[in-house]
C-alpha cells in the first residue's frame, strides 16, 4: 500500500513538470502582456515594469528562473494584484474554495446516493420517475444558469438568503453550494440507481437473501458497498467538475476563492497567477485521483494495490 502511494506520487512529478512547461509557454504565446491597458504607459515606464518583473529577460531564462523558484515553493509576485504574492493569494483563496468544494461533494454524495438507492429500490415507480426526471433536469441545466436563477428567486424576490459574499455566516454558503452540488447530485443519483439495480439482481444478493439475511443488513452491508464502486470512480471527474464549476459559481456569488483568480489571471495576462493556479489545480486533481484509487482498492477485492 505504502509503496503503491509512493510510486504514484513519483509518477506525478513528470506529469506536473509537463503541465508547468506547457502552461508557461502557452500563456506567453497569447498576444499582449500584463501591463497592456487602454491607457498605455510611456515606453520607459513599460521598460521599468518589465525589469522589475524580469520580463525583459529571454524566455528560456524566465522559464529556468520560474522552475527554480517553484521547486522552492515560491510562485512569484502577482502582476495584477501587486501587493500580494501568488502564494498569498492562493493561500487566502484555497480554504474558501476547499470549504465550498468539499461541502458540495459531501451533499452530492449523500443526497445523490440516497436518491439513487431509493429510485433503484422502487424501480419503475412514480418515485423512480420523479427522481430520474429531476436528475435529468439537474444535469442539463448548467450552473451558470442555475446560479443566477437561485439568487433571483431566493435572494431578490424572497429575500431569504444573501446573494453574494462569504465569511459572514453559513447562510451565504447555501446558494453557491446548491448551485455547485446540483449537477453532481444528479449524476451520482443516476449512477447509483444504475449500479444498484444491477447489484440487486446479482448472484451474491440472491444468496444473501436466500440465507435469510434481513433486507436492511443485506442492503447496507452488501449491496450498497458494491453499488458504490462506479460512484467512487466517478469522484475523480466529479472533483474536477466541482473545480471548474467553482470558477463560474465563485464569480456569480462574489466568493473569494481561487476559481476567480484563474479567469481574471488569464484575461489580465497575470502569468504568475495563472501558473500558480494551474499547478495548484493540477496537484489537487492528481491527489484526488490517487485517493479514489486507494478507496476503490479498499472497496473492491478484485483490485489489489502493490
Amino acid at each position: 500500500m505504502f509503496s503503491f502511494i509512493l510510486k504514484r506520487l513519483a509518477g506525478a512529478i513528470p506529469t506536473l513538470f509537463i503541465i508547468i512547461t506547457l502552461a508557461f509557454f502557452l500563456i506567453r504565446t497569447a498576444p499582449g502582456g500584463p501591463f497592456d491597458k487602454e491607457r498605455t504607459v510611456p515606453p520607459e515606464v513599460q521598460a521599468n515594469l518589465n525589469a522589475v518583473y524580469h520580463l525583459d529577460k529571454p524566455l528560456y531564462e524566465q522559464y529556468g528562473h520560474y522552475l527554480f523558484n517553484v521547486i522552492q515553493g515560491d510562485f512569484g509576485p502577482s502582476f495584477q494584484y501587486r501587493d500580494f504574492s501568488v502564494t498569498d493569494l492562493i493561500g487566502s483563496g484555497f480554504p474558501v474554495s476547499l470549504t465550498l468544494g468539499l461541502t458540495a461533494i459531501f451533499f452530492a454524495i449523500t443526497i445523490g446516493m440516497s436518491l439513487g438507492a431509493i429510485a433503484a429500490l422502487r424501480q419503475n415507480s412514480a418515485i423512480d420517475y420523479a427522481v430520474m426526471a429531476t436528475a435529468m433536469t439537474g444535469i442539463t441545466i448548467p450552473n451558470f444558469v442555475m446560479a443566477p436563477l437561485l439568487t433571483l428567486v431566493f435572494g431578490v424576490y424572497l429575500g431569504m438568503l444573501p446573494v453574494g459574499g462569504w465569511g459572514d455566516g453559513v447562510s451565504q454558503a447555501i446558494l453557491p453550494v446548491v448551485a455547485l452540488a446540483l449537477p453532481q447530485i444528479a449524476y451520482i443519483a443516476r449512477l447509483t440507481r444504475g449500479s444498484m439495480i444491477e447489484v440487486l439482481r446479482s448472484n451474491f444478493v440472491r444468496t444473501a437473501r436466500a440465507k435469510g439475511l434481513p433486507e436492511r443488513v443485506m442492503l447496507t452491508r452488501h449491496a450498497m458497498k458494491a453499488a458504490m464502486l462506479p460512484v467512487v470512480s466517478y469522484l475523480g471527474p466529479a472533483s474536477a467538475a466541482i473545480i471548474t464549476g467553482s470558477v463560474v459559481v465563485e464569480q456569480i456569488f462574489s466568493i473569494p476563492g481561487i476559481g476567480r483568480y484563474f479567469v481574471q489571471g488569464a484575461l489580465n495576462r497575470d502569468y504568475t497567477l495563472v501558473m500558480g493556479v494551474v499547478i495548484f489545480y493540477g496537484t489537487l486533481i492528481i491527489v484526488f485521483n490517487l485517493i479514489v484509487d486507494i478507496v476503490y482498492g479498499m472497496l473492491d477485492p478484485k483490485v489489489r494495490m502493490g
Partner: protein, 548 residues
C-alpha cells in the same frame, strides 16, 4: 467557538440538567445584554456599504493604477491638495501654498496637525521620499509619468539620471516643501490629488516591503484607516482619529465590496447588501429606469468613446474618406437607442466642461444628419468609391456586448449612407490592444479615453506624434508645436487659445470619430447623503452620511 467548547466541558463534567440550566441562563443573559447594547450600537455605527468594481490592483499609492484602488486610496490617504464634494480643489495636507511669478516654483506649507495614523507628524521629507519613490525605476510605478512636470522626473524614470535627489522637490524644513517644475503646468495642483503624489510612511514601507499595505502594517494619513483586506471579498476602513479634519467625517466605517460582475453587484444592491454600486449592467438600464428610476444616478464623466482610423495605411490615409465615415455616424440614434443611460453625443475629443477650456467641436456639429449623410456620400465618391465599387473595410473592437452593438449599428449606418462593406472583427482585449498599437492590420477601431486629471492636456497629449498612445498614427508638426507652446505658456487665456487651436486641427483631420462622452451610472440608496456627482467621479466617503 468559545461557546461550544464551554458546552462540551459541561457535558463531560456535570449532569445534563445542570448543563441545560447553565445554557439557558447564558442565553437569557446574552439576550438581556444584547437587548441593552443593540440599540445604542445601531445608533453609533454608521456604515457605508460601497460597491467598488473589480478587486483593487494595489493599495500602494505609488503603484496603484486602477480606478477602484484610487477610490479607496482617496479615503485612506490624502495628498497636498484634496477635493470637495463637487470635485473642486481644496487644501489637503498642505494648509497653503505660494507659486513663483514664473509658475515654476511651488512652496507648500504642510499643516501642523497633519499626522500619520501611528501618531508621527506628516513632514515635507515624507513627500520628498514618496515622490522620489514614484519616479524611481525600481518601484515600477505605472503612473510615474504624472510626476513628469517635476524637474528631472522623466530623466530619473528613464534611467538617464541616477541621483534621486536631483528630482525637483526639496524639504526646506519639516513642514515646508519646495517643488521645482520643468515648465509651468496649470494642472499641477489638481494632479496632486492623484494617488501617485500621496505621501507614504517611509519607515513602514521599508520595514514591510510589498506587504506594507496590509491592514496590520499600513500607516496612512487620510480620513479612514484600513482594518481589513480580504482579496475578492471586502476591504474595510474605519474613521481615523488622527486625521486633521476628522470632524468632517460622519461615517464610522466604509466597507468596499469588489464585484467583478455588474449583474451580481446589482443583485446585491437589490437584496440590500450594498448601499451604492460602482456601475450598472448596460443591458438592464431600461428595466432599472422603469422600476428603480429614483435610485439611478447618471452624470457626465471625463471620457470619450470614439472610433479611430489608421492613418498610416490605405484606405484611411485619405482625409476625405475619414470625414465621410465620421459624418455618416448618427450619434443621436446611438445615444438614444443603443447606449441609453444618458450618454452625450460627441463632436469633440476633449470632453466639454473640462476646466480652463471652451469646447471645440467638429464643423458638422450643427448640421442635420441628412446634410451630413449627403456630404458623406459626396466625400466617399470623391475618394474614389461608389455604390458599384464599394470600399471594403474591417472594423475592430474588443469582445464585449456593448462594443458589439455599437459596431453593428455604425456599420449599418455606413452601409446605408454610402454602401461601404464593413467586416466586424472582435478580439480579446489584450490581443486587440496589441493589434491596435502595431498599426499594421487595423483600419477602423474602437477606443475610449478617460482623462487622468481635469485639464484638456490629458486628452490632447495622446495625439502628439511621439505619444505611445497614438494608435491612429496622427502626425502633425503644427499640433505638436502648439501643445509644446501651451506647456510653456504661463498666461491661462493664452494657453487655452493654444490648446483650442490644437484640438481644432486634430478634429479637422478626422483621425478619430468621437461617438459619445461617457457618463457614470450607478445605483444609490436614498438614505445615502452628502455626495454630489462630479466630472472626475471622485466621490470621497469622507463627506458621505448614511441616514437609515
Amino acid at each position: 467557538m468559545e461557546f461550544s467548547t464551554g458546552i462540551s466541558r459541561f457535558l463531560t463534567k456535570g449532569t445534563f440538567v445542570k448543563t441545560t440550566r447553565a445554557v439557558a441562563l447564558g442565553v437569557s443573559l446574552l439576550a438581556g445584554t444584547s437587548a441593552l447594547v443593540a440599540p445604542s450600537l445601531a445608533m453609533a455605527e454608521m456604515v457605508f456599504n460601497r460597491g467598488n468594481g473589480t478587486e483593487p490592483g494595489s493599495l500602494d499609492p505609488q503603484i496603484s493604477e486602477d480606478v477602484n484602488s484610487s477610490t479607496i486610496l482617496r479615503d485612506v490617504f490624502e495628498g497636498l491638495t484634496a477635493e470637495f464634494t463637487d470635485g473642486s480643489l481644496i487644501p489637503g495636507q498642505a494648509e497653503s501654498w505660494t507659486v513663483s511669478p514664473d509658475g515654476l516654483i511651488y512652496t507648500f506649507k504642510i499643516r501642523s496637525d497633519a499626522v500619520w495614523s501611528n501618531g508621527d507628524p506628516v513632514t515635507a521629507q515624507d513627500f520628498v521620499y514618496s515622490w522620489q519613490r514614484g519616479v524611481n525605476p525600481t518601484t515600477g510605478s505605472e503612473y510615474s509619468f504624472l510626476l513628469y512636470p517635476l524637474q528631472n522626473a522623466q530623466a530619473i524614470a528613464n534611467g538617464e539620471e541616477k541621483d534621486l535627489s536631483k528630482l525637483g522637490v526639496k524639504a526646506l524644513d519639516d513642514k515646508t516643501l519646495e517643488v521645482q517644475l520643468e515648465g509651468p503646468a496649470p494642472y499641477f495642483l489638481g494632479m496632486l490629488t492623484h494617488s501617485v503624489a500621496y505621501p507614504v510612511h517611509k519607515a513602514t514601507v521599508e520595514a514591510h516591503g510589498e506587504a506594507w499595505t496590509r491592514p496590520e502594517n499600513m500607516v496612512s494619513n487620510g480620513a479612514f484607516n484600513l482594518i481589513e483586506w480580504t482579496p475578492q471579498s471586502r476591504i474595510v476602513a474605519v474613521k481615523s482619529d488622527s486625521y486633521w479634519n476628522k470632524d468632517s467625517v460622519k461615517l464610522d466605517k466604509v466597507v468596499y465590496y469588489p464585484t467583478e460582475s455588474t449583474t451580481t453587484e446589482l443583485k446585491r444592491y437589490r437584496a440590500g447588501e450594498l448601499d451604492w454600486t460602482y456601475e450598472v449592467p448596460n443591458d438592464q438600464i431600461s428595466w432599472i429606469k422603469e422600476n428603480m428610476g429614483d435610485e439611478f444616478h447618471v452624470s457626465n464623466y471625463l471620457g470619450t468613446y470614439y472610433y479611430g482610423f489608421n492613418l498610416t495605411k490605405p484606405p484611411f490615409n485619405d482625409p476625405k474618406l475619414r470625414k465621410a465615415f465620421s459624418l455618416a455616424i448618427d450619434r443621436d440614434i446611438l445615444t438614444s437607442k443603443i447606449v441609453t443611460a444618458g450618454e452625450v453625443p460627441a463632436y469633440a475629443f476633449v470632453v466639454p466642461g473640462v476646466t480652463a477650456y471652451d469646447a471645440v467641436y467638429a464643423d458638422f456639429k450643427d448640421q442635420t444628419q441628412a446634410d451630413r449623410d449627403a456630404e458623406a456620400l459626396k466625400l466617399y465618391e470623391e475618394a474614389g468609391y461608389s455604390k458599384d465599387k464599394p470600399l471594403e473595410i474591417e472594423l475592430r473592437y474588443n469582445t464585449n456586448d456593448n462594443h458589439k452593438k455599437i459596431a453593428i449599428a455604425i456599420s449599418s449606418m455606413w452601409k446605408k449612407v454610402f454602401g461601404a462593406k464593413v467586416n466586424l472583427v472582435n478580439e480579446e482585449f489584450k490581443v486587440f490592444l496589441e493589434t491596435r498599437k502595431q498599426k499594421e492590420v487595423t483600419q477602423a477601431f474602437r477606443a475610449g479615453w478617460i482623462g487622468d486629471y481635469n485639464d484638456p492636456n490629458t486628452f490632447l497629449e495622446l495625439w502628439l506624434s511621439d505619444s505611445g498612445l497614438n494608435d491612429t498614427g496622427f502626425n502633425n508638426p503644427e499640433f505638436d508645436s502648439l501643445l509644446k507652446q501651451a506647456s510653456l505658456e504661463q498666461d491661462a487665456p493664452k494657453r487655452k487659445e493654444l490648446l483650442m487651436k490644437a484640438e481644432g486641427i486634430f478634429l479637422e483631420s478626422n483621425a478619430v470619430a468621437p461617438i459619445y462622452h461617457y457618463v457614470t451610472k450607478r445605483m444609490v440608496k436614498p438614505y445615502v447623503k452628502g455626495w454630489q456627482s462630479n466630472v472626475m467621479d471622485h466621490i470621497r466617503s469622507q463627506y458621505i452620511t448614511v441616514e437609515k
